[in-house]
Amino acid sequence: MEKISVKVCTGTTCFVMGGANLQELHDLIPRKYGDKVEVSGSPCLGLCSINWEYSKAPYVKVNEAVVNEATVEKVLAEIDKQIGNN
């Protein structure tokens, strides 16, 4: 099974719009999924600059899927979905 990659955007827009509170994913994900999921911070994913899309920030990418207005719960749900699919 391929490792799932989670990229938490730490660009200015995402950070200010609520991404600051996603930092706990860095502790939570390894605890919950061990090495099945890899989590890292990422500079601006380039999603916020697309025509007013900052209003949907913060963004997190779970493999290719984009989680907008991301919360810890939403991100975990997306990971679970993809693990189920694999």
């Binding site: 200015t12 719009m17 007013w52 900052y54 209003s55």
Partner: protein
Amino acid sequence: MNNIGQAIHLKKEILVRIIKAFLSDNFEKNTRLIPFDMRPKGIEVPYRCCVYKERAIIKDRTIAGLGFPIEEDDETVSLSDYAKQALERTEINNRHLTVLQAACKGCATNRIYVTDLCQGCVARPCQSVCKFGAVSIQNGKSVIDNEKCKKCQMCVKVCPYKAIVKISVPCEDSCPVGAVKKDQTGFANIDYEKCINCGKCISACPFGAVHEKSQIIDILKAMKSDKKVIAMIAPSVVGQFPGNIYQLKTAMINAGFDDVYEVAQGADITANTEAKEFTERMDEGQKFMTTSCCAGYNQLIKKHLPEIKPFVSDTKTPLYYTAEIVKKDFPDSVTVFISPCVAKRAECYENENINYVMSFEEMGALFIAKQIEITACEQTNFVKECSKQARRFGITGGVAESVKSSLNDETIIKPHIINGLNKESIKELKTIAKCGECSNGCNIVEVMCCEGGCIGGNATINNLKTSQKLIDSFADSSEDIKKIG
């Protein structure tokens, strides 16, 4: 995301749009369009009954963002007129909060309520315990007469079925001084005579009804003028943005400031001065001294706790000293304090060396509007480096700690820390003032209005735990206060 999270998200988005409108070629028109851009025709309505209601509420929030009180809006003035008035405004006033009363609708009034769980028991402890005769039995169940009820909650406590509840109004409950009340019409009102601007109601309201009246337009106007605009960043800013504070300084200069000072610079002066004052007061036989850095606490003293005055240190706040330095360095400048909370707006209003306040949230919105990537910025140094203790001023315990570290003999000080103002801690302070001493023998009382300190302020972006960690690691790499001249 919880309601509070969504409300904050919405407020920030509106700020970004206001700033973008200001920077565009047609401020008035683009401000008028904000509610329509955010809720265009045909959109699925996220929170309320219909798109018109949503737009009306966004309009109200925009009014606060432009710096006007929402309560005074009679719905006939368009946002473009407000934008124009904001441009023409030359003065701000001393009312820093405003309530979006349309949002209060969803929230029941504060009362004691008997739920369906009432079994109509024979013992009826609720009725016998009530000193005000407010509980009667109708159709076999308890009923509360709200005219007579004094909300003492005795009935809530004695009901064996836990059938009686207190319906909370978050803003009312959060206010430590009883300044917010939902009136008969169901709208929350702030009594400005009592209000200490602590901002707790802003954080507490799940509908995001309480707003700070923003000064962002006034600041943007100053940036456009030929005056120099100098920012002073609160120590609690560390950890509130990506990158370090040297990158933040560059980002702020890119955003339109001419220079940036750390308020920690003034905190070093405060700590040293306060340490001297503490020694003198102890030598004179006073039993304790209390700190005077927190703006919310200072207003509490002024409005509700004058009896503690004789014990309050005369030392000024870090911001006071910093602003003095800035105005000396740049006599004609416009000074802006970058703030974690609304309480500082009141302090700044009273200090002629400080012109405006920009909250952390507003600064975040400015970065977004100008598309500034902080982590991509170079580092710019500050003219003066600050001590480790000064950089921890915004964390509960940090002020007392820095006074201690500035003393020649650190063993003479025993701090008592009040971490957050609420009804209980205010009662405690009243007792301390009345007795003229702390019952536990402590001799310095540090009071932080917000739990956690300034990092718990209403306009912060990061959570307590993470920001505390980031401040600690930055402080650890800084010099000790004894080595800072």
